[in-house]
């Protein structure tokens, strides 16, 4: 942040390294939620310091969310019931989250790393494959952690709100932000947008409110220029959608709406990833340089090696699996696929995580 401020010609603040406590973004917002909800009368004051401490440092969602508003969980802090059924449900959701993180997100991350490494020689298709891999990585990483948090919460008798609702099937950017990081969007709407007046003070004020909220949303993610840029990028798209595009989007065929949304979502992730603005610009240019190679050798080899996982990631981004599961959920034998799934996910994830620490000191390049 100091490097950003130092762009102002008269400032020359020495950068001082403050190690940030883990999860600071999340529990800052949680404690603010407590103060605001109690002030507004949405929840009674918590007199027990241990219960309050539980809320602030609730370990399942401390590090990666979902951001739990105090009023949503106030009752459960003292009155929840841990049952075997909720524990089992928690186990299943936890395993789904674990699978999303280790089996999908980590693989997509490896593909993204490989494509970034071969840099210039990727070709436009290679660059697209790379950022699509990142698009999958960030979703499965984040929603995986959210699922694990919800699952752990269930095991302890809590019911947390869903944080993601298949964001990549959105037909508009407006819809995307109702499906992505729901707890953050809710927090900003309840505690910033509506108190600022929302849409009740005329169009001009509404646009200003939206820009403020999106500036802050970007800033919450990180104090670098690119995050603020990312926030305002979406703020602008949302304003355009609300006032201009809405009519066309409502009438357009589903296929067009999906492509439109995914296109802007994926570009958004380029802005989100690169904190170095030069690198960011170069990457965007490479995505649209149709004159040269379609795809470089190295990128093609990586893309083909990860093709099965890319397809799995694509399918897992849709509610298809959930719908199929919903059909057999109440069957008596459901414990069989559930058990096989849990065991499979646990075994493969353990294997993949252990192998990351496998470090042969071999004299390969000797």
């Amino acid at each position: 942040m100091t490097s950003t401020l130092n762009y102002l010609p008269f400032l020359n603040i020495p950068a001082f390294k403050v190690p940030l406590p883990i999860g600071i973004s999340f529990y800052t917002f949680q404690t603010m939620s407590y103060s605001i909800d109690v002030y507004r009368g949405d929840a009674p004051m918590q007199k027990n310091i241990i219960t309050f401490g539980t809320y602030v440092s609730l370990f399942p969602q401390l590090i990666a969310g979902p951001i739990v508003r105090y009023k949503d969980v106030a009752y459960q802090l003292d009155h929840r019931r841990e049952t075997l059924d909720s524990f089992t449900k928690g186990v299943m959701i936890f395993c789904i989250g674990l699978g999303k993180k280790v089996l999908i997100a980590n693989q997509m991350g490896a593909l993204w790393d490989a494509i970034r490494e071969s840099g210039e020689a990727n070709g436009w298709l290679g660059s697209w494959v790379g950022i699509i891999a990142y698009t999958f990585q960030i979703y499965f990483d984040f929603s995986g952690y959210s699922d694990m948090a919800c699952g752990l919460g269930n095991m302890l008798g809590f019911e947390f709100l869903k944080n993601f609702n298949y964001p990549y099937i959105s037909k508009s950017i407006t819809e995307f932000w109702r499906r992505w990081h729901i707890s953050l969007g809710t927090w900003f709407r309840e505690y910033v947008y509506i108190p600022l007046g929302g849409n009740r003070k005329g169009t001009g004020r509404q646009i200003l409110n939206l820009l403020i909220v999106w500036f802050l949303t970007g800033f919450w993610h990180g104090a670098d220029f690119n995050f603020i840029f990312w926030g305002l990028y979406f703020g602008l798209l949302l304003i355009i959608e609300k006032f201009v595009l809405k009519r066309w989007l409502d009438k357009a065929p589903a296929f067009v709406s999906h492509i439109y949304s995914l296109f802007f979502i994926v570009i958004g992730w380029v802005l989100f990833y690169f904190s170095d603005l030069t690198q960011m610009w170069n990457y965007i240019v490479s995505m649209f340089s149709f004159g040269s190679d379609v795809i470089g050798d190295s990128a093609a080899a990586s893309a083909l090696s990860y093709l099965p996982m890319l397809i799995v990631a694509g399918i897992a981004s849709t509610p298809l699996a959930a719908k199929l599961y919903g059909k057999i959920k109440t069957a008596k034998f459901i414990w069989v696929p559930q058990t096989l799934y849990c065991l499979g996910v646990l075994a493969v994830c353990t294997a993949l995580l252990v192998s990351q620490s496998y470090n042969p000191f071999l004299y390969f390049r000797f």
Binding site: Y306, P308, L346, F364
Partner: protein, 338 residues
């Protein structure tokens, strides 16, 4: 309707899995050394407040947990086969190839021009001494027929061209064609579970070197070849594909120099002498390649009183030289390896 107790099985399986691994961790004896990784494993770190606050204790404890994880090598194997099953061959840097070959993926060319420049500079500075360069091609380049359908490109041809262009003050020995011919004829030039060339491959390189260095290469029949089984080399160890069968490693001895050979290994202040080119104690281990000249040492001198000439040779090498230099020892009174 009464709820069946069977619905609790997923939960039970989950808890059993997590807790049994935890219990196994505490109960099983801690290993000190990993033979497949060739490194010492982290033991329980000593606790002190200083270590805790500097982060050292935390780091060491994390390493301790993963290094002593119950059934570690089994999990590594499972991960490797899983990656293979999902179409990601080469995720750990080793391609699972046909005919039980485990082949390194192509090396990066980051240091290529730096190294070529250094060699050229060295040759320029010492123009009174003839300099010869022999570069070993990659296994994946010569044995390209066993590679999986999806793999990164082996750029050996481009590299060799750049060597020939840049290295003008040296005698560059190009073994590509000889190797390809031998390989097509059905001879095993490279190991299947190791990145080195076989003794046959080294012998082929030895023959190719002879015009540049000016000796008459010995015929194959001069050597007594002894074959040893169960050679699990470097690519095996780092691949995790534990089901691949091992290689055989051959030691080619020329008994004409028995008793006349002396190998001196120098590590810092220590000098040890050995009266054979081959260090048979290494045949007890999985990775038997150090049988050739005792593996990686910074400085070794090989002297042969029964050599054909009294010339001296300096070899600046990597580990491929270990299996090649024994062949050269018949022609030089003294060879210094760095």
């Amino acid at each position: 309707m009464k709820k069946s107790k069977l619905r609790l099985i997923p939960m039970i399986v989950f808890l059993v899995f997590v807790f049994s691994l935890t219990v196994l961790f505490f109960v099983s004896p801690k290993k000190e050394y990993s033979s497949s990784e060739k490194r010492y494993l982290q033991q329980a770190p000593a606790f002190s407040f200083a270590a805790l606050f500097s982060g050292k204790f935390g780091d060491e404890f994390e390493t301790f947990l993963s290094d002593q994880f119950a059934g570690r090598n089994l999990w590594v194997g499972l991960a490797s086969y899983y990656q293979l099953a999902i179409g990601n061959n080469g995720s750990n840097g080793i391609y699972y190839c046909k005919d039980n070959y485990l082949v390194n993926d192509p090396c990066g060319d980051g240091r290529l021009s730096v190294n070529t420049d250094v060699i050229e500079e060295f040759a320029g500075k010492h123009s009174e001494v003839p300099v010869t360069v022999l570069i070993a091609p990659s296994t994946g380049y010569i044995c390209s027929d066993v590679l999986p359908p999806v793999h990164k490109q082996y750029k050996d041809d481009a590299y060799f061209e750049s060597f020939q262009e840049k290295l003008r003050d040296v005698d560059f020995v190009d073994v590509r064609e000889a190797f390809q011919n031998e390989y097509s004829a059905g001879n095993q030039i490279y190991y299947k579970t190791d990145h080195h060339w076989t003794s046959y491959g080294a012998y082929t390189a030895y023959k190719e070197l002879s015009p540049a260095l000016g000796y008459e290469p010995n015929d194959e029949s001069v050597y007594e070849k002894t074959s040893y089984e169960d050679f699990y080399g470097t690519t095996y160890s780092s691949s995790g594909f534990w089901l691949i069968p091992p290689d055989e490693i051959e030691v080619w001895e020329n008994h004409a120099h028995d008793g006349a050979v002396k190998v001196t290994v120098i590590e810092g202040e220590n000098r040890t002498e050995h009266d054979d080119l081959f260090f048979y104690s290494h045949l007890e281990e999985d990775d038997k390649y150090p049988v050739f000249l005792d593996g990686n040492h910074a400085y070794e001198i090989i002297e042969n009183a029964a050599a054909a000439s009294d010339e001296r040779l300096l070899v600046i090498k990597d580990s491929f030289a270990h299996s090649l230099v024994p062949f050269l020892s018949d022609h030089y009174a003294s060879i210094t390896m760095l």
